[in-house]
Amino acid sequence: MSKAKLMDYDKALELFEPVLGFEVHVELSTETKMFSSAPNNFGAEPNTNVTPVCLGLPGSLPVVNEQAVRYSISLGLALDCDIAPSSSFARKNYFYPDLAKNYQISQFDEPIAINGNVEVELPNGRIFQIDIERAHMEEDAGKLTHVGGSTGRIQGAEYSLVDYNRAGVPLVEIVTRMIEGAEHDAPELAKAYVATIRDIVLALGISDAKMERGNLRCDANVSLRPRGSDKLGTRTETKNVNSLRSVERAVRYEIQRQAQILADGGTIIQETRHWHEDTGATSAGRPKSDADDYRYFPEPDLLPVVPSSELIAELKAALPEKPVERRRRLKAEWGFTDLEFQDIDNSGLLTEVAATVAAGASPQAARKWWTGEVARLANAADVDANTLVTPEQVAELAVLIEEGILTDRLARQVLESVIAGEGSPREVVEKQGLAVVSDDGALIEAIDKALSAQPDVLEKIREGKVQAAGAVIGAVMQGMQGKADAARVRELILERATAQ
C-alpha cells in the first residue's frame, strides 16, 4: 500500500481548519453478553461462549442484561448526559457473516443518554469542551478470520472463518457532536479525547478498555474547511484505530492527505477509511452509498428501558470524580511540577501512573518508569505502553528498588524479562538471581580484591581526593555483574580509608 501524497502539517493548517468527530465503542466488562447469558470473556476457544441467541438460531430471543444497562447509565452520567426517561432498542438490518441474525440490536431514535459533554485537557494545558451527542447501547459482532491470499486481509482471501464468541458482547457507542476550533491541536485532541474516555470507563470499572483487544475502538471523522469559508468539507471516517498513538497519527495523516488533495484541486470522497498501523497510512474502504439502508425499526422482542429516578440517583452518587478534576487533585497530591505532569499527559498514561501509585510505588517512581523506560520500550515495539506491563508490575519494580533489592540498572533488566512474560518482577529477581548483594561481607571481599589492583586509591582518598573511589566502585560493580549497591560500596570504601 503506497502512501498518499501528504501536505506539510503546518501548511495544511494554514489553508484549512480541521473539523473532527468521534464515535468511540466501549465494550462493557459484564459477566455475560448484552442479550444472552453466554460468558463475556476474551480469549476463549472459538464458539464456546455462545447460546442459541448468540448464533441467531431459529426461535431464539434476546433478553437485556441489567448490569449492562446500569453500566451504560453510569457512563452516560459520567459524560454529563441526560438519561432518557424512556429509551428503546431498534434493529439495524444488514447482511454480514459476523452478524448472526443479520441485524444488529442497537438503539436508534431513543438512545439511553443524550446531550453530554466531556472536558479534555491537552498536554499543553489547554482545556477543551467536547459535546457528546449521544451514547447508546448495542451488541458487538462476531470475529472474522480471512484465510488465504497474501495479507490475511479481506481482499484476496479465499474464505473466511467465523467465531461468534464476541457476538453480543455489550457495547456503548459514544458519539460526539462536530468538534471545531481544535486547530493545530487536532491530533493531540483526538488522542486526549480517547484517553479521557478510557480514563472514565476505567474509573467507572465498566470496561477493561484495552484498545489492543478491541475493548475500546475509535472511529475518527475528519473533514477540512478552507480558511475563510463557512462550508463544511466532505468527511472521511477512519475505522477502528486501535491504539492511542494511532488515533493521533491517523487524524494527523487524514488532515495532511485531505489538504493535499484539496490543494491539488481534487475532491474528498465520503468514505470509510482503514488505518494501517504498519504503514502509518489510511486506505480507502467502502464508499457511503444508497446501499446503506439499514431499515431501522423498533426491536419487537425487547421492551423500553425506563430507569427510575432512584436508580439514576444511586448511580450518580457512585460516580468517580471527573478526569479534569482528578488530574488537578493528583497533580497536587503528588507534588508534581507542570513539566512533570505534562510528561504523564503526553504519554496518555495518567491512569496507569495513578494505579501504580495506588499499588505502592512513589509518585516519582511511577512517573519515571512509565514515561521513561516503559514508554521507550513501547515506542520501540510500536504499541501502547499499557499493553506491555500492568501498574501492579511497575509498582512492584519500584518497591524492589526502594527496598534496595534492585538497582535502576537491574530493574531495567527485570522489566524486560517481565515484558517477555517471565513472571512478576519478584519472580524474575528470584529466577535470575538478580538481587543486589547487600551482604557487607561479600562486598568487602570484592572491595579488597579491587583495592589490591589499585593500592594507591585509599591514600588518595585520605588526601581528600574522594572521587578516586569511583574507579574502585566501578571495578566492584563489574566484578559483581552490577548486583552491588553502588552507594553501599562507596560507603564501605570511605570507611576503610578513614579507619586506617
Binding site: E45, P52, Y94, P97, Y159, D163, P304, P307
Partner: protein
C-alpha cells in the same frame, strides 16, 4: 399509485439478499404495486398526533441477571448444523463487502 418499478424490486431484493430471477422480478413488480396500493390506505387513516404502538402489551424494564446459565452450547452443538466449518469456526466463502 405506487412507485414500484422493476428497478426498485431489484434493489429491494439486493437489500434482502435474494437472487430473484427476471421472471420473479416482473411478477413481483406487478404484485407489489397492487398490494402497496391497498396497504397505502394506512397513511390516510392516521394523523401526526396518533402515537405508534410497537408492542401489543406495554411492559418496560424487563431484564436478566448478569449470570451465565446452562443455555450455553457446546462447540459441537454450535457447529452441528453448519453447512461448513473447520472444527471450531463456521466457514464461508470469500467476502466481497467490508464490515460496517
Amino acid at each position: 399509485m405506487s412507485d414500484i418499478s422493476e428497478e426498485s424490486v431489484r434493489h429491494l431484493a439486493g437489500l434482502a439478499r435474494i437472487a430473484l430471477t427476471d421472471a420473479e422480478v416482473t411478477a413481483l413488480t406487478a404484485e407489489l404495486s397492487q398490494i402497496v396500493d391497498v396497504v397505502a390506505q394506512v397513511t390516510s387513516a392516521v394523523d401526526a398526533d396518533t402515537p405508534a404502538t410497537s408492542h401489543p402489551i406495554p411492559l418496560s424494564n424487563v431484564y436478566r441477571e448478569d449470570v451465565v446459565t446452562d443455555d450455553v452450547l457446546t462447540p459441537e452443538q454450535a457447529l452441528a448444523s453448519a453447512p461448513e466449518h473447520d472444527g471450531s469456526r463456521f466457514k464461508v466463502s470469500a467476502i466481497l463487502g467490508e464490515e460496517q
